[in-house]
């Protein structure tokens, strides 16, 4: 599965890593709903670690879409909410 970490590019990760990411994704979601920055940063940090340690960087010339996208490693809840509200991308 191809995963992008915002600000870092794409990685190809294994099935095992993909399963871990799914768990962490649920934690991220809960943290966002609770507005809990501490829990959010912990879950995001763990997700980013999984991708970086398990994944192989996708060659930049490949021009593929990622299946899932992780927020920037130093993002907080507010920033992700802003991103999810979409307007920010239309620069």
């Amino acid at each position: 599965m191809i995963v992008r970490i915002l600000g870092e590019g794409q990685y190809e990760v294994s099935e095992v890593a993909a399963a871990k990411l799914e768990e962490l994704d649920a934690e991220l979601e809960a943290a966002i709903e609770a507005g809990d920055d501490v829990a959010f940063k912990a879950a995001l940090g763990a997700s980013v670690d999984v991708v970086r340690s398990d994944g192989r960087p996708v060659p930049a010339a490949s021009l593929q879409e990622a299946e899932i996208i992780l927020p920037s490693s130093d993002a907080d809840v507010a920033e992700v909410l802003k991103l999810l509200s979409e307007g920010q991308l239309d620069v």
Binding site: R4, G7, E8, G9, D25, A26, L63, I69, S72, L89
Partner: protein
């Protein structure tokens, strides 16, 4: 729905909106390529801006470091002259300056990371833009408009995600740089006005003023002693004593 999936859908939606706007798919290629080249320029400017900010913070850190050293020296001099109060005040100011320094140091590291990320992003984008250009020419030369559609969509969506990502990265860098500049401006003003040294006493640097005054008094006293010695060697009546200054010490 999953957060990570939702973020990716937002990027896809953006790519689709852009594709929908254009009627001839091959027109998409040229339009997109043009945007990519513009984005490359923007990301390079972003790298340069962050570097400028970083260098400014570096200069301020050096200045603060010097002031910390000054305060240390003042404390030592004051203590040598038996003025514990002044030594204490100097050390307090030193600690305030060190706090400022540490906060600058954190920001410096933040800027360094931004700079590295953006530099890598610009290299990545350069590679993608080159790949896109090659693919664009192939698609234009080989396929009819209808056939080209799928291939264009693939290439476009891939690069669009990267462009969206880099667009966000530049925004973040710009925000951070703007914050830093506001902060750096404030610190420059503080450094220039001497106000950083000023939060305990009144005059620009009352500790230095006091130390200088004490130094001058000592000099006067030793001059006085010399003159007395010259005027009345072995005299039994010492000349009239001048009142000594309040800060007189040995």
């Amino acid at each position: 729905m999953s957060v990570m999936k939702r973020v990716s859908l937002i990027f896809r939606a953006k790519a689709n909106r852009a594709l929908d706007k254009l009627e001839d798919p091959r027109e998409t290629l040229d339009y997109s390529y043009q945007q990519q080249v513009e984005m490359l320029t923007r990301v390079r400017r972003g790298v340069a801006d962050v570097a400028t900010s970083r260098k400014r913070v570096e200069l301020q850190m050096n200045q603060l470091q010097k002031q910390v050293q000054t305060k240390e020296n003042q404390a030592r001099t004051a203590l040598g002259q038996g003025r514990e109060d002044l030594a204490r005040a100097a050390l307090e100011q030193k600690s305030g300056l060190q706090g400022q320094y540490q906060s600058l140091q954190q920001q410096y590291q933040g800027l360094q990371e931004q700079e590295e990320k953006l530099t890598l992003a610009s290299q990545r984008l350069q590679t993608q833009v080159d790949a896109f250009r090659t693919r664009k020419e192939t698609i234009k030369a080989t396929y009819t408009a209808a056939e080209a559609q799928t291939r264009i969509n693939e290439a476009f969506s891939g690069i669009s995600e990267e462009m969206g990502d880099i667009g966000l990265a530049i925004q973040r860098a710009e925000d951070k740089t703007a914050q830093m500049q506001a902060r750096a401006g404030a610190i420059d003003e503080l450094l220039a006005s001497g106000a950083l040294e000023n939060h305990v006493g009144g005059s620009p640097d009352y500790i230095q003023v006091e130390l200088d005054r004490m130094g001058a008094n000592n000099e006067i006293e030793s001059e006085m002693a010399r003159l007395r010695g010259e005027l009345s060697p072995g005299s039994s009546e010492p000349p009239k004593q001048l009142p000594s200054g309040p800060g007189e010490g040995l």
